[in-house]
Structures are given as C-alpha cells and as structure tokens.
Symmetry: C2
Subunit: 687 residues, 2 copies
Amino acid sequence: MEVVRRNFKDTLPLISDSIEKADFLSIDTEFTGLINGRDVSIFDSPEDYYLRCMNGSCEFLLIQFGLSAFYWDEKEKHYMNDTYNFYLYPRGRPGPDRMFLCQSSSLDFLASNGFNFNKLIKEGISYMTALTETKLRESLTERQQTYGTREKDPVRIPDENKQLIEDICAKVKNFIDNTTEKEMEIDKCNSFIRMLLFQELRIRFKDDVMVDTKILENKSRVLKVIRKTAGMSDQETMRKKREWDELEEAVGFSKVAKMISQSEKLVVGHNMLLDILHTLGNFFQQLPPDYNSFKEFTHCMFPKLLDTKYMSSLPPFKDKLGSSVLTELLSTLAEPPFSIPKVGCVEGRGYSNLKDKQHEAGYDAYITGLCFLAMHAHLARMRGDHSERLVPQSATLKPFLNKLFLAKTARQDSPYINLTGADPTPSRDHVFHLVFPKEWQRNDLNQLFSPFGAITVHFLDETSAYIGLERREQAADVMRALAKNARVTLTPYYKYKSYGSGDAEMALRSDRAKSDTYKLIAKTEMKSRQALTRSNLTSSWTSPQARQPLPQKVSRARSNSTSLTSPPVATRKRTSSGVFQVDESEPLAKKPEISPSPPENPRTSAEAQRTNAEATRTRAEPTNGRKKTDSAETGKKDTVTKKKDSPEQKKDKIEKIDTKKDKVIEKFDSKAKSNCVTAFKESDSWD
Amino acid sequence: MEVVRRNFKDTLPLISDSIEKADFLSIDTEFTGLINGRDVSIFDSPEDYYLRCMNGSCEFLLIQFGLSAFYWDEKEKHYMNDTYNFYLYPRGRPGPDRMFLCQSSSLDFLASNGFNFNKLIKEGISYMTALTETKLRESLTERQQTYGTREKDPVRIPDENKQLIEDICAKVKNFIDNTTEKEMEIDKCNSFIRMLLFQELRIRFKDDVMVDTKILENKSRVLKVIRKTAGMSDQETMRKKREWDELEEAVGFSKVAKMISQSEKLVVGHNMLLDILHTLGNFFQQLPPDYNSFKEFTHCMFPKLLDTKYMSSLPPFKDKLGSSVLTELLSTLAEPPFSIPKVGCVEGRGYSNLKDKQHEAGYDAYITGLCFLAMHAHLARMRGDHSERLVPQSATLKPFLNKLFLAKTARQDSPYINLTGADPTPSRDHVFHLVFPKEWQRNDLNQLFSPFGAITVHFLDETSAYIGLERREQAADVMRALAKNARVTLTPYYKYKSYGSGDAEMALRSDRAKSDTYKLIAKTEMKSRQALTRSNLTSSWTSPQARQPLPQKVSRARSNSTSLTSPPVATRKRTSSGVFQVDESEPLAKKPEISPSPPENPRTSAEAQRTNAEATRTRAEPTNGRKKTDSAETGKKDTVTKKKDSPEQKKDKIEKIDTKKDKVIEKFDSKAKSNCVTAFKESDSWD
C-alpha cells in the first residue's frame, strides 16, 4: 500500500503489526542521485568503497522507501506479504530546512519509471536523524517554558503601524460583540504586523478570543481569531499540543526505521549497500568517517542483513543466473531448476501478482523478498529440507548474512563488506598505477601491455589509470620492462596508494567535515537562536585521529535517539502529555578551561556541558532505541544488557551501569568489534 | 504560452520574432532553492551581498524562466504581450550530468503554488553554459573524426559470448533474407554485448542494414537493425546528424538567453538580482569571484536592466505603495492615482487578463511588465507626457536603469548594485560587532543598549551579532560606555570587517573553487575521456590575485559562446552541415616550460594551448555572441565595434583588431569599467 503524509499516522499501527509478525523484512529505497565526485574504482578495497560512497552519496535525498514484511500463513502453508511504499520528503519546519543534492540523470530515470515528483513534494512523509530529533525536542521544551513570559516585555507599536492595529482591533471587537461566528480571519498582514496583533489582541481580548496562525494552501499565513467557549483548552495548551504534533509529524518515517531496527528481524535487500547507507544516515545518524565504526554501527542497528545480490553471486546460483539485475533475477528464478514460492496477501495490504512496477521501492522490496524465498527454497531442497518456512537463524543462511555486496569490485575479488568480521583482502600485486601521455587512448594502453596479455583499465583522469593484468604472474616482468619507458610512469598499486592515497584518503575523511551538512544547519540556526549548537548537530563523529580516550566513568543519558556520550547530559523523559522534560544532571566534576563565564541561569549548565563536549572531543553514540526482548541476561530491569562478547572484546569495553531508576542506557562503542550494548524499558518503546 | 521540450524547437522562431518586435522584455525565474549557508546581513555592502549570493545561490537549479515581450500595437494604440513560460531541466547526455542543490522548503513552496515537477523533469528544456557548449562542440567534432577508424582494431569476442553473438547474427540474417520489414529490435543485451553486436553486424551485414541504439521510455536501451534502402544516407552520416541534433537540443534554452542578450533590449524584472545571477551563471558563464568583473559582465550581457522593486522604492512611488511584493504592487497600481494601461495579446501567445497564476515564471514576468508600464505612465503623466508608448532611452527611466535592488540592505542605505558606476557607500559608523554570553536573548541586547535608544540586531551566531544604532550620533558614547563591560566585546563594524572579514571574504571567493561544480564535472570526465580538461570547464575565472598581465597581442577565436582569450586557440566555424570544424591556428610562439612532450599528433597543438592557458592563468571571456546592429561606428565589417568609452576607460584597454576574414572578435575585459567590445558578422547569429 502507498503511504503518504495524509495516511501515515493511521498506518503506523498496521506497519508495527506487519513488522512484529514477519519472519523477515525486505527493503528498497530510491534517492535523488547516485554518486557525486569520483566513483569507486574496480580495485578499491572495501574501506575505500565505503569512503567513496559515504562522501559521494550522502548528500542526495532518500525519497522513497519500500518495506515488504513476509509472514507465514500457518493455515495455508505459504507466505503472505504486507508491503508499503513510502514517499519521503523532509519538508522543514519544525525540522531543519534540508539542502540536498540531485543528479539530473537520476531524476530523469525515476520520472521515466513513473516516479511521481509532485506527490513526493506535496505528500511525502518527513523524517530526520535521531540526533536532530533529540535536539528539536530539547529546544521545543525549552522554548515552551518561556511562553507566557513574553507579555511582560511587549514590543512598542511604531507610529506608522498604529492606525492599522487600531482598525483591526476594532474589527475584532465587532466580531466579539456583534456576531455569533466562531472564527474570523485577518489576512494580508506581514509577519511584523502579525506579531503586533498577536500581542495586542491578547492584551485586549484575552478572555474572549484566542489568536492563532493559519497556513493557507499556497503557504501564505493569516491570523485566525477564535471565539472562546466554555471547556476550551486555553490558548497556550492548544499551541503547545499543536507544536508537539507538528514535531511528531516531522519525525515521521524515522519512527518506522526505528521499528525495523528494534525488531532485530532479518532484513533483506538487493545490492543494498546504498540503501543501508542512506537508511542509517538519514534516519539514525550521520555516517562515521571511520570504517570500523561504520561496520559496528550498521551491525548494531541491523543485526541480520542479507544481500540477495551477494547471494546470487555465489554457488549454486552464480553459474545458473545470467544476470543479477533484480527483474532478470526474478524471471530466471521463476524457471526450473528454481521456482518462486506462492506468496499471498490480504487485499490492499501487499502485492498479489507481478505487475511491472519496477523501480517503485515497494514493488522492488517485494520482488527482492520473492527472489530471496526462491533462492532459499532451492538451497533447502539441496539439503533435503522441503519445509517452505524459513528459519532466519538456520545454517543455510549463515554464509550470506551480514555481507554487503560490492558490485563494482566483486570481479576483482573484493565482493563484500563483512559486517561481522574481517573483509577479504585480495592481492593487488598485479595492479599498477600508470601515467601516460594525454593523447593516448585505450588502444595505446592495450598495445603497451600487449606482450603481457590482456589488461583491465580503470581511468583516473586524462593521463592516469589503474591497470590490472589478467596474467597476474607477469607483474614483475611488466615492472622491469616498462621502467625504462620514458613516456609512461608505472608504479605498483600498493606503493602508489601508500604515498599517493594516504593523503587522498585523509582528504576523503575530512571532506565530510566541510560538506554541505554544515551549511544546511546554518540557516536553521540563524532563524532560531534557541536551537542547537552547530557542533552538536553535525560533528557527532570525529576522525579516529582526533579521538581522545574516553573518561572511564561517565553517566549516560537514556535516549531513544542519539546523544553525546560524555560528559553527562541532562536526563530527559517523556511525560504523559508526550512532552520531554529535561532534568538537569549533577554539576560537572571539572569545568573546562575555555568556559566563558560562570553558570548564571538554568540554561547554563547544559551549555557548559556542550562546551565541555567540544573541548574533550568525545565520540557520539548512535542508538536505535532498540527494544531488547532478551534482557533476561542481565536479570535486572534498567541495567545494561549486552550481547555475548569474545574475551578480547570484553577487555576493550568500559561500561558504567547506571542504576538511576528512570534511565535506560544505550551504548555504541566504536572500539569494540561488532558488539552492541543496548537496554530496554517497556515504557520506552516508540509507539 | 507554455514551452517544453516537445514544442521548443518549433517555438524558437516565434520567440525570436517576439524579442525582435518588443519595446521591452520582462523576465522572471524560479529556482530549486534560495540560499545555502549564511544569508546576507542587513549591513552588508553591495560587494558582500553579491559574494554571499554568488556562493550561496548558484548551486541551485534554474527550473523555470518567464519571458514577456511587450510590443506596441500602433493601430490600437496600446501594448500587446507575447509571454512564454519555459520549464527548464538540463538532463545530461550529451550535456553534463548536472548535480544541483535543492532546498526542501523552496520545492514545497513551488509545489503549493502549482509548480509541476513531473512536467519539469519529463518535459523541461535543457540548457548549458556557453563554455560547456563550446567544449562539447569541439569534443564532438573531434570524436566524429575518429568514426570509421574503429573497425581496424576490433574487440575480440570472449568465448562465453560467442554463441549469443552467433545466434543474434543468424536472426539478423534471417531478417535480411526472409522478411520485408523495415526494422527489427534486439533487446535484453547489456552494453558490452551491444558493443560486440555493433561491431559484428557492421562487419557482416554492412551493405544490408544499419544498426542504431534506441532508448525506450523507461530508459533501457535496445539495438535497432534498419534495412538499408536506396537513397538512404549512410549510417555514419545519419549518426553524425543525430549527434548534432542531440547537442542542439541540449544547448536548448541557452539560445533564448542569447537572443535576449543579443537584442540589447530593455529587460525588466522585479527584485531581479537572483534572476540575473542565475541567468548569467547557467546560460553564459560561471559567475566571477571579482565584484567589478561581475558588474562589467552583467552590463555587457544585459546593457539595459531595470528592477521594478527598486523603482517602487523611490519617490513618487515609495510613499504611495504599502508593499512592494509583486502581486500587492500590482493591485495598488490598479487604483488611483495609478492605473494599469491596457495590454492585449494575440490569442494563445500571451496573457489577456489577470488570473492567479502567481509564481509561475511566465505570469510573474507578465505582471512585472504591467507594473512597470503603470509606474512609467505615472512618471510620464507627472512630466506632462501623455503618450502611452515607452521610450526605453528616455530621461524618465534613466535614474532606474542598471541598478539591481538589494532587498535585504535597502533599509540600511544600501539599496542597489550600480552596474554602470559606483555603488552607494553608506556609513556604518553606527554599527558594531558584539560578542555576548551564550544565554543572552534579544531582550538582553535591547537592555544593554537601552541608554542609547533603539537598535537593529543581526545575529551572526549564538554569541555574536551586528548591532546598528537608530540614534547614530550615539556611536562614540556607546563605545566608551561598553568598553568597560566585561561580559561583552564591542568592536566598530569597520574595524571588525577589516581584520575579521578580510579573511572571510577571501574564503568566500575561494569557496567557489572548492564548490561542487568541480565534482559535477568529474563524472562526465571519467565517462568520456575525450572530453574536456577540468580546468577549462570550471576555472574560467581566476581570482584577481592570481591574474597575470595579458599578453599584448593575441589572436582570438571567434565564438558565439565563450572561450579562453589567450593564448590563441583553434579557429572554429560552423559548416553548412551544422558541424563545427576546427582549423588549427599557427604554432605557438613560445612553448610553456611544463609542456610534457613535443606535439605528436593533430590533437597536441590544442593540448599544448590548454597547458599554456593553465600555465599563464589567463582569464576567460564571457560573450553573448551579441549581434551589434550599430556597427556603423567602425565603418568596416569584421573589425571591432566598441561602445563609447570615457577617456580613462579607454586608457585601460588593449585591443587587437583581428583582420582575419572569417573571424569575429568578442572581448570581455574585466579591467575596463563597464565597457564591452563586441563584433558582428551576419552569418554568425544564432538562428
């Protein structure tokens, strides 16, 4: 089913139910572009691959998310699917006004495949990272505390506006005294006049009317004067409620992403690296520049991932499949020796047959699930297992789990990122960096290497390329033969990377810091001075070089989103009204040197902490607010639950068990390899 | 009328006619965002303003252009309008695959006002800068010269593909021998197989069929095998023609922009600074980081600009207009003492009445023209002139010409950029830079300054702001009083700018160099090694610091677009087949030191020139290929025509009159103040 802004809130319980009952989920996403800047090279390592994608892809916008939940129908003995196709568009207010990149060819491609951009922009569901959400919640809570204090310090009405204000007040007086209508509108006022009217009408007619802003279809604003009636909540309460509702709407799809993460279900995708990067970066947290942190972060958020493109690249599928392009894979898998298992759906909740809705994220997620089921069934049959139902933790699936396919380097023996262990480290002894004259074409290169057999060429620019030998044993001969050639410069790949690319990779990492994300936030900041410091919002990952050892003892705030680890920040909890309250934590043990002046008002403590956070350059924690259902391990509510660690890994970890009653601790430790520490509190779940 | 991809080519002659007959043109544009990064401050100088906009706006995409041509109906004695609303979308291939920024709130705003994004992406007309166009023409010419040479060096068919190729060749053989159909399609081949088939089918069936690629609605590609018939052009000629047609389509709207520029007609806009920046930067040339170059460049491209927002901000309009927002301006001007003159239109060619099509660029351009006519008529009546027809060079309009309104600084006495003279230099003696404690709010600032009267505040971040005093004479007292205040740091504005912002402005300029434009190009380059060097495409303006004196004598290529000035580049001319040919120019007098190796093939000369161009870091020349109709001044065809210079300005200019018969010289000298040197040759006009 299609989910847009209008039906999102009502659909959330259905989505939650679908995820809950599913044996596995399959996903697909669409974005506004693929890569900005230099693309991955065919000889890149998994780490290079990640860094290129992180730098080149993350400024594009995720605009559609397909989610297919496959659940078992015990009576009919086959799978059913609930499939959702979400149009996603973060539209600013109260969220940040996003700046994002588009690639003209990508939009062209999507439009040709029926993507509806008008629907996207008008009806897309909003989203934001967990960090932004936390900050907005804090900032709104803070701002709402100032309501009611404004009247004490009214703005003087400039002489030139006095007559207009008087005229409008007279109209409102007339509305109150001489009519019975519920509302009146005041239009054609600029923002300054609206502000003056807010103030004046409140002073003069507080007991009779409430004043509110109404945004018209064309985005212009008018004032709405509403007659007060018995039993009506007061203006401030209504306004606060509306602001929280708006914030919830702006958080939007991030809630679904969290549900998926919290479910810890098997998540299947086809060629899913970019899907995962966008999912993490848009709904959870900016991607880390450190590769190992990324692997951990991903595994923490999605502990069971399976890439059908990787699966199809291995025996017994590899030789039987002509192409692993999704639709072609599906049609091959529909014919012997394979078959697509029967999958049903409840009317209106999923797909029931194969229609050509290719490149609609929901449909692609659905057929990814079908391909997965077909391949799984084939493997099971080979093992003599004829049960149709899948066991996500079965040995059959184990070789494919948590490996993200690397389409562009797979043919050069670097076929995946292994999220839970070491990556393949294929030899690059047969690869060289070559500098050649500008006028040379591909044929000139072939000719140069013709004595040594065929070559693979990856052009870097007009005068340089990586060259891979097909006859790898020729590497030494090539080096010897071409060393004397004055027109070219040949350097072994590793050597070139070690002096050339050490810098380049650093540049890749620090590129991130200069990225537009900084600029994006700037505007929001300027507009709302009560908002967040830039460093908090964007510098949540520091480069490995910049890392300082973590303080041994830190008290960590519970969050269902993300916050800085240390030093301690205020404890927040959601009250029954849906409002997050900020309880100030204990004073800091040590004040940083650069603190500008002693704390003087209630905001100062949190500010000093921010300053301290900047000074000590701590890492941020990505969390998913995951609901751990296996908290039995700790035997105790409100304490840390962690997965089994290897002894070495345990050594690396420092944890403080926070015993405060209403806190839940979550930790993402990027030094520990592939471990998550999460905790769970019933009242804490998202919906 | 609405102009999209489908009807663009057929509409071009109509547009040309409209521009030709018009007394004046009015324009409006829509973009995907307004500003990225820090916005203009209310105390900014015109130069600051320009730099902020240049850096913050130019990565957004121009997506709609409205053009309204007002021409006089002598019989009916009133104006008529031809109005065009162009949807614009540069879609890559053969143009560059554009990366562009969007601002989520801007798209939201456009969608709310009925902007059709599906139409934009599917039917938008392409465009590119003149520099890109030149390079693409050169590159295509070069590539086409290699056609026919490829067969000599065929690609070996890998064993695994042999059977497939044989099967398909058999099918084609059957098509040739046993059917009478004109075409057959070969689908489901990847690009490698298509390449092999191109080669094999050509070798085997050259005399019977032609092979072409066809792009389907969903962007997938199939091969088309076409039976040869008598009188059919050969495959290569057809392919070349198609490639030139595609290039012409990709140049697209830039042709209209050039027509407007070449017409030298009065161009009217409302709050037109961003319209002008986008028009110049997207259709002509990347904006220069040097402010004076920008002023010159703009004046050269559009010698008569008029901003109705500026006009309405001056007497006699200022006090009579409540708001200068376009639609409100229009409704005020419809009432006494003003009136909107009658404006007609030929059915289907323009607007005939006022419908609420606000924020459609065509409509906004039209009502801008109406407002202009109403204000002009009012001024004329005040002078006792009751003729309805406008004289663009009349004294009435002179005070308003070539001044771009600066909406955000107008209230601080910096209301415009003067394109043909010095800008206003209002005092900033009453302005201060203030650093204050983080917890301070606006009220705290008001209180701090309360002994000195009201203040204007422009927040820079959480702890700093510019403060302007309303009682300007208090400046010295303020400085004295607050110097002792330990909680704030007050610095006079000029002092702050001189040490703080000197650097900042440099950063603004060099930001440009690091901008995404670089990345954008990278991909195109990687894909087509025959394409252009990055430096040529993007570094067309160098910073004033990097400038070297120009060589005194340079031979300059004629261009109807843009090319590097010096050193000499190849002479291009368009042949009757629409193909640009490159005649190599005379060898370079002096070879640059860094030239890697002696010229060895026909491409080398041009390459050496590129290298030389980089080495000497010359400036680029923006040109509009403007058709000068007043070339009588020089009395001689094919020589330089220049506008009247002041004696000082003349001194600054060095010109070489090129006497070569088939060359047309255009010069944009950024050292000369507000002068253009243009030349004209009949056969050189664009359409």
